[in-house]
Symmetry: C2
Subunit: 399 residues, 2 copies
């Protein structure tokens, strides 16, 4: 008889596999996975980089690198983060196998079974899955169009504080809700955290993907703000910019937290792929990233506009959705009585898929909502897909 650990028994599918399977059916119009479209990846730039690597560097790519990361990439990433105003000099940087591993490191070093973690609701499914794998108890707080709802957070902190160990937020082009935190909300959030014994984990996987240069200021990380009242750990990723297949993210953390994370990573995978770190470093240091991001912003803006126009045209009146200023997602809200799973079932039959709201609710309840990703759907199929979903919705709302 297998005697699995309590942690193993707490593991639940984060639905990633199911999403991947659905997304790979070529006959279906998919708004599911939060990934770039394959045709967008910088294959030409990487080809050029790869073929111009000196032999010594090429060899380095096959070798172990320090657990904290390939030193040249640590430097170029620091420079990239410094340009965002991040305090790279009095914090430490660790390169992670995707930002999911960064979340995992923070969970590993802070969570004992039964410890509480405050998240947004809805929240990134990967993070939910990580926290649950450490047997954390999740305390979700609603978000509105400006960020986490502060009166709700205050109540949560009063009830759960000082027990909650981590507050996990994704303020920039939120996954799945598509929103971006307002400056005011960020400041007020920090005010509220004064005196709390909690770590703020700020997950910024999409911040560079603003559609309008004017909104760049909105994506300035909380971690850039001086005199933070609590330790802030900042994670970002190259997954949504260069490609998730490189498996590269990073974590910027105060030295004492970094030290534990480094030890935790040593026993997780020793180091992230040096091979892809070598390529990512060149991409950054040769500043291929600026032009490439510029291109991506235009592509995603166009896709979001096509999707918004289709939603406007086809969706029934009682349905609302967020208007993204960047990122990959539109979050759709349905009348209370409608269950997104019913709509999904009908949509799949007619050839379009999305991710139901329940998936993103840390408590697995709220389901009168769903996520549409416009990042990887061919432009000429977006309208058709939205039409299918709208028809499924109309059918349900009549019945």
């Amino acid at each position: 008889m297998l005697r699995f650990s309590q942690s193993a028994n707490a593991l639940r599918s984060s639905a990633i596999r199911e999403l991947m399977n659905m997304a790979s059916d070529p006959n279906i119009i998919t708004f599911t996975g939060g990934m770039p479209n394959n045709t967008l990846f910088p294959t030409e730039e990487i080809d050029e980089i790869y073929n111009n690597l000196p032999i010594d560097v090429r060899r380095d790519g096959f070798q172990y690198c320090p657990t904290t990361g390939y030193p040249p990439l640590l430097n170029s990433l620091k420079e990239f983060l410094r340009q965002k105003g991040l305090p790279v000099d009095n914090n430490e940087l660790i390169i992670t196998t995707g930002s999911l591993q960064a979340i995992n490191l923070i969970a590993k070093v802070f969570i004992d079974p039964g410890d509480r973690v405050i998240t947004e609701n809805p929240a990134f499914i990967g993070a939910i899955s990580v926290f649950k794998s450490y047997q954390a108890k999740l305390d979700p707080v609603d978000i509105d169009e400006d960020g986490i709802v502060l009166p709700d957070l205050e109540k949560m902190l009063q009830i759960k504080s000082p027990e909650a160990k981590i507050l996990y937020i994704t303020p920039y082009f939120h996954n799945p809700a598509g929103i971006v935190y307002s400056q005011k909300r960020k400041t007020e959030l920090l005010d509220m955290l004064k005196g709390q014994n909690i770590v703020l984990l700020e997950d910024d996987a999409y911040g560079e993907l603003y559609f309008d240069q004017k909104d760049r200021e909105l994506t300035k990380p909380i971690k850039t703000i001086p005199r933070l009242p609590v330790p802030v750990c900042y994670t970002t990723s190259l997954s949504k910019y260069l490609g998730p297949g490189l498996r590269l993210g990073c974590l910027l953390a105060p030295p004492d937290i970094f030290e534990k994370c480094e030890l935790a990573k040593q026993s997780l995978d020793a180091c992230s792929s040096t091979f892809t770190q070598v390529l990512a470093h060149e991409f950054l240091v040769q500043n291929k990233i600026s032009g490439y991001l510029e291109k991506l912003r235009k592509v995603y803006l166009r896709r979001s506009q096509i999707m918004l126009a289709a939603l406007q045209q086809y969706m029934p009146e009682q349905v609302t959705w967020t208007k993204p200023r960047g990122g990959f997602y539109i979050w759709v809200k349905l009348p209370e009585i409608i269950d997104a799973t019913d709509i999904l079932k009908k949509s799949i039959k007619s050839g379009a898929v999305f991710v139901i709201g329940q998936t993103f609710d840390p408590l697995g309840k709220k389901n009168n909502c769903f996520r549409l990703a416009f990042s990887h759907t061919p432009e000429d199929r977006i309208e058709e897909g939205i039409k299918i979903i709208a028809s499924a919705l109309k059918e349900s709302m009549i019945n």
Copy 2:
């Protein structure tokens, strides 16, 4: 005040970083890190593979792949494992971020804090570090030249069984001891495990690196034996064959264990690098691996011979060492009263480093022994390095 988890407080440096730092000093002759020499990596083969990838496949490398692995690599790896006689059809394969992650997955799904794990003594430091990070209690059992010492294991099983959850062994060109299990020892080990409620984790990172074709039979995994009395999970790695920088290993496990491991990996890093998986798949499917391994075997045989000759020539009489039939390591035993740390300090001053025995003792005690890796030291510096260590030893033995 930071409230770290108990797991974080159990984290200890596995000394990997320190080793890397020492190994990177170009003036010192290093026998430390268990890695191939940079000049050995198959850069030309990978260049050819990379530049001939169809654009679609190249794009796939930037994308997420299923948590269990890039499907073509799963197939080619299964074929590779099938040729070793492994039961790939009634087990499941998962590609991991190095075999360290495979060990981590098994630890995650079986170990609750305080659970017991039986290891060899000495044992792979990475595995020790993983088990400790899950707050396991380690019960080390000595090994001799044929494998784990069975009377000692029996006593351990009697005292700790049925509490011990995992038995972790590295039977093929053991790290650090350099030995390979005899067929008899493997059979008797399985006999002893009959009726035990334990999982056997068989770590085979070096098995393909036998020096003599005749010894190939010795590297046949335990997992290939029919009617195993306990669940056997088998892990291997491409790190010692193609290069650790690719961060690719795999775990072959019974379906019920696999299922939990897959969920655990979902929350660890979602998937391993697709980019390096694409390259590794081509390396296997184009059968570049056979010729390449053939080349490696000759190189490592030659290096081991140079090292053995130098040991024979320079070491004092009371010192003994293993004669490796494959792999990367020679294990040196000193008289009981000699402390390897003293020898190391003296050796470093004279310009040669190795890893002290204590590092590989799960209880951190035994230190009249040390590990020499011949895998990455330039051939023309091996003799000089051994001479330095031998001088340090002679000096200590006179004093």
